[in-house]
């Protein structure tokens, strides 16, 4: 292989190949990553901190690669993560006011898993305050800008994760998803993101948002890279009992190209903007032309599931933040505070009923929507990235935007199902559009297989934004 122009534009798999063949080193990739971050991040505001310890992690990876003891494909690969996962001795901000920052005394299971793989942790990434909000706005740390157009929202809450991966600062990132927080920013920033099945990844050492609906998962540039990251973080952990249930282990089967059957909830598609619908239809046609079978299905429960999810979100958010909300209301952003207050009057009976209905709702979804299909496909977000404008003081407009951005994603947190977003084209103003693929419980392998198959047919995931026009401070400038 000749000299690679931009190693940071490669996939994790390809960069790992360069490392193993001795054509580059982890130290060199780490140096390039840091240089890209220093050059581009002033225009994006994706990073909250850079870790000096990244250099020593890279040196350890290089030593293991030289000795042939680096077994993981992530060895020596620069990553960075949403700032809600603990690492012993380091500060976690949760995207919140400094009063809430925490010096961690443990290392989260996901960071420990990636350390074990000898990945390099470049630093911490911007996020919505307490992972509450799909826009990427943050009144404490400044807005994370969208690399495709810095006046647009990046999406959230894993805003920095999606923006940094899209801007080729890092190869991948771990985020969290409670209503769309991996999938929405990944779609709006033109990258690939996976919300695993509820319980697939240990939440030990991670901030809770809505514990009954939180999933931790990867954002990267391709389904294949997401599979590599998921392999490193999935699996049973006695410190999160949910992850110890006897689920089948995750085993990627990317090259199994049996006939794919995909369900399309037709009525729901009509809610998407025209440009999003056009990109999505083209993606479906590409899959169909390649041999996938498409079935139009009716999904009548979506509004009911939104209501059930809403009751759960409200009650659990208020329960988590009750003490701090009453003691320090001024240390929350106005919109987040208002959202967190709203669970105070939810009757316990209704919360428990919403929880109790989950298995029945999942069973109905599997029976009525997925009966004869491997996956359900729909757009990830109904619109391209909206123009950023502070809505802190306009709760109704903010609520409306939140509902629009999470319309297609939130139901699958309530249902606990795995969901993948892959880039599927560009809509108005040249902004990315995502296609969402939803799978059966613990069947991440199938949606990753379909996503990977789609990415062998298209090159949307290889497109990168032109960052030369990103002005320093573009993100922070529009923060409230």
């Amino acid at each position: 292989m000749g000299k690679v122009n931009d190693p940071l534009a490669l996939s994790i798999r390809a960069a790992g190949g360069l490392l193993r063949s001795g054509q580059t080193t982890a130290a060199e990739l780490t140096r390039l990553s840091e240089a890209r971050i220093r050059a581009c991040d002033p225009g994006l505001n994706a990073f909250l901190s850079l870790r000096p310890a990244a250099a020593s992690q890279a040196a350890a990876a290089d030593a293991a690669l030289a000795q042939g003891t680096a077994g993981s494909p992530l060895a020596g690969i620069p990553l960075a993560h949403k700032d809600m996962f603990y690492r012993t001795g380091e500060t976690t901000t949760f995207g919140a006011h400094p009063a809430f920052w925490k010096q961690a005394e443990i290392t989260s299971a996901v960071k420990a898993g990636l350390d074990h793989s000898l990945a390099v942790d470049m630093g911490t990434l911007n996020m919505s305050e307490f992972a509450a909000g799909p826009t990427g706005e943050n009144v404490h740390h400044g807005r994370c800008a969208n690399p495709w157009a810095t006046d647009r929202l990046s999406g959230g809450s894993s805003s920095g994760s999606a923006a940094a991966v899209a801007a080729r600062m890092i190869y991948g990132s771990i985020g969290s998803d409670t209503g769309g927080s991996i999938r929405v920013p990944a779609a709006l920033c033109g990258v690939t993101g996976l919300k695993p099945t509820y319980g697939r990844v240990s939440r030990h050492g991670a901030m809770a948002r809505v514990w009954s609906q939180d999933s931790i998962g990867p954002i990267a540039r391709s389904a294949e890279d997401c599979a590599l990251l998921l392999q490193a973080i999935a699996g049973p952990d006695p410190r999160d009992p949910l992850s110890t249930l006897t689920a089948p282990p995750f085993e990627p089967r990317l090259h199994d190209v049996r006939a794919i059957r995909i369900a399309l909830p037709h009525a729901l598609l009509a809610e998407a903007d025209d440009d999003v619908a056009t990109c999505f239809s083209a993606a479906i046609q590409a899959l169909a032309a390649a041999g996938a079978h498409m079935d139009t299905v009716r999904w009548t429960d979506v509004d009911a599931i939104h209501a059930l999810a809403e009751v759960t979100h409200k009650a659990e958010s208020t329960a988590l933040h009750d003490n701090q909300l009453s003691a320090h209301p001024g240390k929350y952003g106005a919109f987040v505070r208002q959202r967190f207050e709203e669970g105070a009057l939810i009757p316990a009976v209704r919360y428990l009923q919403a929880q109790s209905l989950r298995p029945a709702m999942v069973e109905r979804f599997l029976r009525e929507v997925m009966q004869s299909c491997d996956a359900v496909a729909l757009p990830t977000v109904a619109c391209v990235a909206p123009v950023a404008r502070s809505l802190e003081d306009d709760i109704d407009a903010n609520r409306q935007l939140l509902g629009r951005l999470t319309r297609y994603t939130r139901p699958f947190n309530y249902l606990g199902l795995p969901a993948l977003t892959v880039p599927c084209g560009f809509g108005r103003d040249g902004l990315p559009v995502g296609m969402q693929l939803v799978g059966r419980p613990f069947d991440e392998a199938t949606i990753l297989r379909i996503g990977h198959f789609y990415q062998t047919l298209t090159d949307w995931h290889h497109r990168s934004p032109d960052l030369s026009r990103a002005r320093p401070g573009a993100g922070k400038a529009t923060a409230a």
Partner: protein, 68 residues
């Protein structure tokens, strides 16, 4: 000595979170609408539903409905 009766729940909420009357009404209204929706959905809830067993239910449903 017995303590005085606590405030009604909505007043406690308003006091704790320093909500004005308009905001309290807004939250009450939203909560009432959502609670009514859930109540309707739960009308036929089976008596053998156990809210804390969702994780196990997902494993079981995944096994029963097969994987692709």
């Amino acid at each position: 000595m017995t303590s005085p009766d606590p405030l009604p729940l909505d007043r406690q909420c308003a006091h704790a979170y320093r909500l004005d009357e308009r905001r309290l009404l807004d939250i009450s209204g939203r909560t009432a609408r959502l609670a009514a929706q859930v109540s309707e959905l739960a009308r036929d809830l089976d008596l053998d539903c156990h809210p804390w067993e969702f994780g196990a239910a997902l494993v079981e449903l995944g096994a029963r409905h097969g994987q692709g």
